[in-house]
Each structure stands twice: as C-alpha cells, then as structure tokens.
C-alpha cells in the first residue's frame, strides 16, 4: 500500500509540475496586469508545436525547447503590445474577449500549419533513462520536470522578493497609480510580466510534447484546470498557485486510487468548498 501511495504521489507531483508551469504564468499576468489571459494554455500548446518543428529540423531536444520557449515569450510580448495594451484602460471584459480571440486564432493557425492530427516527438535518450522507484520504473524525464518546476518556483521567488526589479513588479501589482507616481515604467513592467509568463508556458508546452502529444485545441481543456488552481490559490497569488497545483495534482491522483468514479467532479467540489469558506482563495488576501 505504501508503495502504491508513493507512486500516486509521484504521479501527482509530476502532473502538478505542469499545472504549475501553466498556472504560474496565468496568475503572474493576472496579478500584475489584471488581465485574465485566456490564451495562456493555447501558448502552452503552441510551445509544443514549435518545439516539435525545431526538433525535426535539428534533432536536438534541448535546442527545440530553448527556441520554443523564447518564441512563445516573444509571441506573448507581441500579443500584449499589439492587442492588449490598447485595452488596459477599458473594461476587463474586452481583455478577456481579445485573449479568447487569440485562443481561437492560435488553435486554427496550428491546425493550418501542423494539421489536425496529434503530433509528438521522442523523449531524448538522456531523459528516457529509466529510474527504479518502489518497484516501478520511471523515465528520468519525470524527475526532470518536477525539478524544473521547483527551480521555476525558487527563481520566481528570488526575482520577485530579492531584486529591485521584483520590487517594481510588486509595487505595480499593489497599486498601479502609486507605482506610476514613483516613476516606475508600469508599461514596461506589464510587458516584462507577459514575457515571463509566456516564457513559462512555452517551456511547459515544449517539454511536455516529449511525453504527451499535442493537438489543436488541447489548451482549451488545460486552461480549465489552470483556472481552478489559480482561483483556489487566490487570483494573482503566485506562490499560493504552486501549493494549490500540488494540492490539485496529488488530490487527482489520490481520488483516482480511492474514488475513481468521482475524481473529475471532486476537483470542482474542492474549489467550490474553498470559495464558500474563503472567497478570496486559500492564500489570497481579503
């Protein structure tokens, strides 16, 4: 039984790591710019597509991931500067609509470029090495992703809490008018936030495609879980999002083991229950 629990926890952590890579960008962008970026998961999947194209050209997984990550970062910036910036001053509904439009465009563009069929690439040999744990073998890739998620968490923590740039981001996050009064270039902070958020999504998608094939529109279902995580943590609470990713990831694994009939439902039950008791989320501020 203990072994089984270890396996489920590991599988949950692995899943949670992907949730975190999506949710971190989503909540960071929301926290700073107050834009609910519906296209975020579409960027995640697009990262996968770009990675598999680069991989088929170069045959190198690492180059593919790097190029895809940067490309998505740049696409994020382009979308922010070209489409979202003009909408900051008006109702947030319009921002939601424009990011939804971007989602549709990205989905159909991927279908046009890469076709409707699912696509995937192979795990690089160095990550395919199997590691024995409690009687089962896992590819090294598993631990790689979990580690990367932790590294991302630490890096974001340092960037936000220990640097001057982080201070500027946090002050924009708190009160944008005050930040502007203090001569912080909030426009640039917004763009940088979009860049970092998209970078994380791009990296997540690019590395995922070695384990999970991508198809156009896959992001539409991923964004739902990402929203659940972000709302559970409290909208805009970055570090809470890591904890709630892990809560959701492991809860899903455990429900599968013990109450498989209800596992999909229970995630939403958890969210509803938390929102009833703490409408501002587990880690959010009142």
């Amino acid at each position: 039984m203990l072994e089984l629990l270890i396996h489920q926890i590991l599988a949950g952590l692995f899943r949670a790591s992907y949730y975190w890579l999506i949710a971190s960008g989503l909540t960071l962008i929301f926290g700073v710019t107050r834009v609910i970026n519906f296209a975020h998961a579409a960027f995640f999947v697009l990262g996968g597509y770009i990675a598999l194209t680069i991989d088929s050209l170069t045959g190198n997984f690492w180059i593919a991931v790097a190029v895809a990550t940067l490309t998505i970062g740049c696409i994020g910036v382009a979308v922010e500067m070209g489409l979202i910036k003009p909408l900051y001053k008006i109702e947030s509904l319009y921002q939601l609509l424009i990011t939804f439009a971007v989602t549709l465009i990205v989905n159909d563009a991927s279908k046009l470029i890469w076709g409707a069929a699912s696509r995937s690439m192979k795990l690089p040999t160095e990550l395919a090495i199997s590691v024995k744990l409690a009687g089962r073998s896992y590819p090294l890739f598993y631990f790689f992703v979990i580690t990367i998620a932790i590294i991302v968490f630490i890096a974001l923590y340092i960037a936000l809490e220990k640097t001057f740039w982080g201070l500027k981001v946090k002050s924009t996050w708190r009160d944008v008018t005050m930040a502007q009064a203090l001569r912080i270039n909030t426009g640039r902070v917004y763009t940088t936030t979009f860049f970092i958020g998209s970078l994380l999504a791009g990296f997540g998608g690019a590395s995922m495609v070695a384990f999970t094939p991508v198809a156009p529109g896959l992001g539409d279902s991923l964004i739902v879980t990402a929203f659940v995580i972000v709302v559970l943590a409290g909208l805009g609470n970055l570090f809470g999002a890591y904890v709630s990713s892990i809560i959701i990831g492991i809860a899903e694994s455990m429900f599968l083991l013990f109450i498989p009939e209800l596992d999909i439902l229970l995630i939403f039950v958890i969210m509803a229950a938390v929102l009833l008791v703490r409408p501002w989320g587990l880690f959010g501020e009142r």
Partner: protein, 448 residues
Amino acid sequence: MVSPDRRRFLGTVAAGVVGIAVGAGLGWSLRLPETREEKVTFTVPGPTVTVTREGQTVTVTREVTAKRTLPKDTIKIGVLGIRSGPWATYGTLIEEGAVLAMEEINAAGGILGAKISLAIRDEAADVVKQARELVEAEKVDFLVGVDSSGNAMRVGPIMSELNKILVVTHAATHRFTEELVYKQKIKQLFRVSVPVYQDGILAAYVAKDLPVKKWAGINPDYEYGRVSWQFFKDTLSKLRSDVEFVSEQFNRSPGTTDFSPFLSAALGAGAEGIYTTNWALEAVTMHRQMKSLGIYDQVMAVINPMSYSMDVVYELGKDYPTAKHGTWVSGRYVWFYPKTSINERFVESFRRRWGRYPAYSSETTYTAIHMLKAAIELTGSLDLDTLISAMEGMVVLSPAGARWIRPDDHQAIYDVPYGKITHVGGEIPILTDLVTRSAWEYYRSPPF
C-alpha cells in the same frame, strides 16, 4: 444495382408494352366483322403481360420518355464531422471518404445523371445548429457523418422534423439505433459503422482467450467509454468465470494529457491486462506513456478497440508498443480486411487520392454515399419514404465487406476483426492473429 444501359433497355421494353397495348385497344375497336385472333406474350420483369391483338395492322403513334430521371441535377450531401479541437483530425477523415466517393461517382456520370455536391460542417460548433443550417439554408438532400456519440444523440431526434435521411458513419453509441430508431421509430436514421458492440462485446471475445485474469479499465469519461467498458465486463464475465475487474478509471476526454496516475492506480490494483477505449489523441498519449513508464513490460495484454484508426497508427508508427500477449486493436474497418477486389480497389484509389491508407471513418462515409446512390438508382426517386424502404434490408457491397442494413434498427451488420499489433517493417504496423467473428454472433439484436 441496375446499370444505365440495362435500365434504358427495360424502359424501352416497358414503353413498347404500353404502346402495343394502346395499339391493340385501338385495333380492337376498329375491328372488322371477320377477324382472326393472335396472342403475343412479352416477358418483362414482374408478372407476364399478355396482349391480345385482333384485326388488321393498325398504325399507332406514340411518344414515351424511357429514361428514369430525378427532379434535380445536383444531389447535395451535408457532411458532419469534428473539425476543431483535439479530435479535429476525425472530421478530415470523414471528409476524405466523402470527397473520394463524390469524385468517383461524378466522374462516372453521377447518380442517374445528377451530380453530387458536398457541404461540409463542423459538428463541434453545435451539431443541431449545423444540421439545421445544412437542411434549411444549404438545402442538402441527405446528411452523412457525425463523429461523436453525444452529437449523434443530439442531432438524431431532430431528423424526423427536418425530414432528411442521416447516415451515421462513426458515432458508436448503441442507443442511436436501439433507442432512436428501434424504440422511437425515427426512420430517417441509419448507421453504416459498427456500434459499441464492437468495442465492448467483441473485445470480450478477444479477452476470453488471453491468459489475463485481472483486468483494469481506463476509459474516457463519457457515454462511449462507460458503455463500452460495461459491455466488456458483462460479456467477459459471461464467457469466463475466472476473470476479475480489479480497477476502473474514467479519464477526462478530451483533455487528459497525463495518464500516469490512472496507470499507476491500475497496476497498484494488480492489473494483468488493460482495457481502454481512449481514442485519437488520448490513445496516442496513453500508449506512449505506458511505454515510457514501463507498463508495457508489466502487463500481459492491452485491448484498445479503436486504435487501428489510421491517425493513431501513423502517429505511433514503428513505436506502436506491443505487450507480451499482444496489443489488441480494431476499428470500424481495417484497410486490409476483407481481401476482396472491391476493397483492394478502394484502398488503391484512396491511396492515390490522399497518399495514405484509408481510415475507418473514410471507408464508412464512402460507403454511406454509395448506399444512398444505390437506393436512389433502385427507386429512381428522391422521395424519402421510398428511399427508406429501399434501404431497409438492403445489402451493400462495400470495401468492408457485405453490409446488411437491418430493417428493425437501421444498423449495418458486417464483420470487423480485432488483431494483434505486429511490426513487419514499413511505416505502419499491421494486425496479425485476427479474431474474426460473425457480427451475427456478437451484435445485440432486437427486441432491445
């Protein structure tokens, strides 16, 4: 099927009979007092016609159009398939079959001279709205396609109101034919593809002969997944008393990108075999993850009913994993079965047109259009009731073999085998150790 030349000949003969009858009648009325009697017998299809002619030669002028014609020059067929989202590839597969049928039929002169045209819509964008628009705005004569069982159950009930024939070519829920056609008597609905009897019941016949006693199910969490798993369990428990179903999981579909917790829970429950009806993207994901998590080395056999679909086969290709006692898969048609000239010709022309082996929903859609053609040619009519009664009980010779359209539930009865994924070199694996059972044996039959 009646060929145009033979039809023209029969028409002429019939016209001749009518002409002579008229002539005879006229002759009889003009007869002279002393006459001699002559009997002439014509043989035409149907009852023998005897015309009695008396008197001298009479000249009769007659004007008859012998050729059967349709009231229109174009027959428009609406095609529904999933064209957006993670399953978008299936809409393309349906489209490829429809386009090939249209091109071939039009090149050979159309249906009784009328050309076919297609109107293709995305069923994922509200299937009911799309079907209505196809019928009301695009004025289609028939509808074919539909990938999702949920969509088939939504669009089925409105077909009696729209009063058009819908031939389903992929959606597999047994409720479509058992409930909508058999119980609710919506006579406009037909299905030329196999229902879940294939996914659930025939799969149990495969499992019966495997050395697996503990089965785990990992199935998509909607009607198709749940019903197939239920059929599998029910049938296998009847066929073998020593099997156990140790774990049952239902994954979100579409949208499951990581099967590891499901697989881990199944192994934890001691599964020796895994039964999954995940398909398309999720089938690819699951097989790949089972391989990288080493699960293929730990279970004896895997059954995945729809995974000899060409999108899955091409995507996994040479890496399609095989378990010790086989990865058993099937489809609604597999391209190399049966070995008939019709099938070989179809595969050949499909490959020429699209550069790939035909997927099952391409074949079923191709067949649906040919079935409509046969019904129209047989009756010479576009009248709905005439066509429906022509299609009930019709035997369609198709690439997948002879399909009999069972009149009670409008379900095509034909055999599709299961087989073991085997790599023989080349781009895609083939199936060996085929399990071929007659559809009569494993299809449920009315009364339901």
